[in-house]
Amino acid sequence: MSAVILLLITGVGLGALYFLVASGLSLIYGLMGVLNFAHGSFLTLSGFLGWEVGRRVGDGSWAGLLIGMAVGVLVGAGSAALTELVFIRRLYNRHIEQVLVTVGLGLATVALFEGIWGSDPIQIKSPGWLSRTTEIAGVHIPNDRWLLIGAAVAVLLLIVLFLQKTSYGLIIRAGVENRTMVTALGIDVRRAFTIVFAIGGAAAGLGGVLASVYYGQVSAHQGTSLLIYAFIVTVIGGLGSLSGAAIAAVIVAVIQQFANYYFGAGDLAVVLLLAVVILVRPTGLMGKVKH
């Protein structure tokens, strides 16, 4: 029983990390129909710069981590907005070119990161409490999972509040449903595109810093490997559905943890789950978007 509780909570923690990356992907696809293969680069860059600033403030301290997280959010938002303005804006409704450009950008930035920080992972220090465990019902839960879960819940609430309570949130919700009609109401939907990219990048940036805490290291390939899971989560949740991404992130991570523990086949289980969802429910758990 204790193993089940441990796997469940650690699974939810990992799912929180997946959600931070997948939420942006899902929002971006939902509004713009863009499959952004460069999304992992926002995460990696934020992870590196968050670590660089954080260790200068206080290596292994809470202040360093919190400032690193803030830097990750800003770097993620800025790099994503810049990507939208410079590359994606010229390529709306040109899906092949979007894929080519974002894949190319993803590959080029990994090479750039390797050139700057090397190809080997860099071990990082985190606040002591995060390396310890908290006992719940006789089970020792790693504390970094609580940080991940808390951050993901906060991000989910903030995005939902933004979507429900602001005028740009209204435009984005309408645009996910019918982008053409939003334009036909006299709204420059391109501003909403940039904002959505920035929000997605900010979440991925936070995810980048927290991923380095979770793995205890930061590397040039961190974003690429997490991006694969994020895409799987996005497809299972339903392209364009934020709540779908949240639910799917938890399902994928929990199944992955259980399959790893009992069969040593976590990745296989995730791919099988993806195949089943695509066959049985091609639009995903909560997907409605058609582009």
């Binding site: 919700r173 449903e177 019918n178 334009t183 036909a184 109401l185």
Partner: protein
């Protein structure tokens, strides 16, 4: 009176295929101008071309300003509202949110919308996707009436509606047209008769007739160009064998029809 909209040699393409060819017509600065034609002749594509929703070329002048190079949101911001075919309300948003989204500037015309469609106020918090077709059309029309526009493009507003609702929508359009001129695409000829003072008839992607609405609707040009009798009923064999061209009204212009 100077027309509010002048369309000169408009061409519209969808995915590279030409669907509207060298269309020219004016929209009067008052009342309703109807754009008529059989199914698939390019009426809706013309409206979408004017808005820039489809690739277009040619000259479109609105209230003295060229708008044919403007992006869609800029065209609308000039003062042109659009009521699309099939309503296209945002089904996941509430009625109030649909209307709020349409507001431009600081003075939305809430009072007019409330007067025309009081029912919508009671349904403000209802998801638009759960409304009936007629209610959705009210939302769609209200979105166009929220702002102080100089022209409204309306695409088949009575399509698929129950006869009772058609009457309500027609009355609303009539009141709206007293304030704002309208370019109306409509298959229901009774609605056209009730609303329009002028008709522009398309066939094969081109304008084949322009003139007063009553005269057109009372002539056998209706059969020739629309394939229906003037009461709106389908006429047999007209698609294959157009009737001999009749003389149009003195003030009308009749172009040679190209059946391509």
């Amino acid at each position: 009176m100077t027309p509010i909209l002048t369309v000169q040699d408009l061409n519209v393409r969808i995915a590279g295929q030409q669907v509207v060819e060298d269309v020219s017509f004016d929209v009067a600065a008052h009342g309703v101008t109807a754009l008529l034609g059989r199914n698939g002749v390019g009426k809706s594509s013309t409206l979408k071309g004017l808005l820039g929703l489809y690739e277009r070329s040619g000259e479109v002048t609105f209230d003295g300003t060229r708008i044919d190079k403007l992006m869609t949101h800029r065209v609308v911001q000039q003062g042109i509202a659009y009521v699309p075919e099939d309503r296209e309300v945002f089904s996941q948003l509430t009625v109030a949110e649909n209307l709020r989204l349409a507001e431009r500037g600081g003075a939305p015309q809430r009072a007019l919308v409330d007067e025309l469609f009081p029912e919508l106020r009671q349904r403000a918090n209802q998801q638009a996707g759960t409304l009936s077709g007629g209610q959705q059309q009210m939302v769609s029309l209200s979105r166009a009436l929220m702002n102080d526009n100089q022209l409204i493009l309306v695409d088949e507003p009575t399509k698929g509606l129950a006869p009772l609702i058609v009457g309500t929508v027609t009355e609303a359009l009539k009141k709206a047209a007293e304030i704002t001129p309208m370019l109306l695409v409509e298959q229901n000829l009774q609605v056209v008769r009730d609303l329009a003072h002028t008709v522009v008839v398309l066939s094969g992607g081109r304008v084949v007739h322009t003139g007063p609405a009553d005269e057109f609707l009372d002539s056998d040009l209706v059969q020739r160009h629309l394939g229906v009798s003037s009461d709106g009923k389908a006429a047999e064999g007209l698609d294959e064998e157009p009737a001999e061209k009749a003389d149009g009204p003195a003030s009308s212009t009749e172009a040679k029809e190209d059946d391509t």
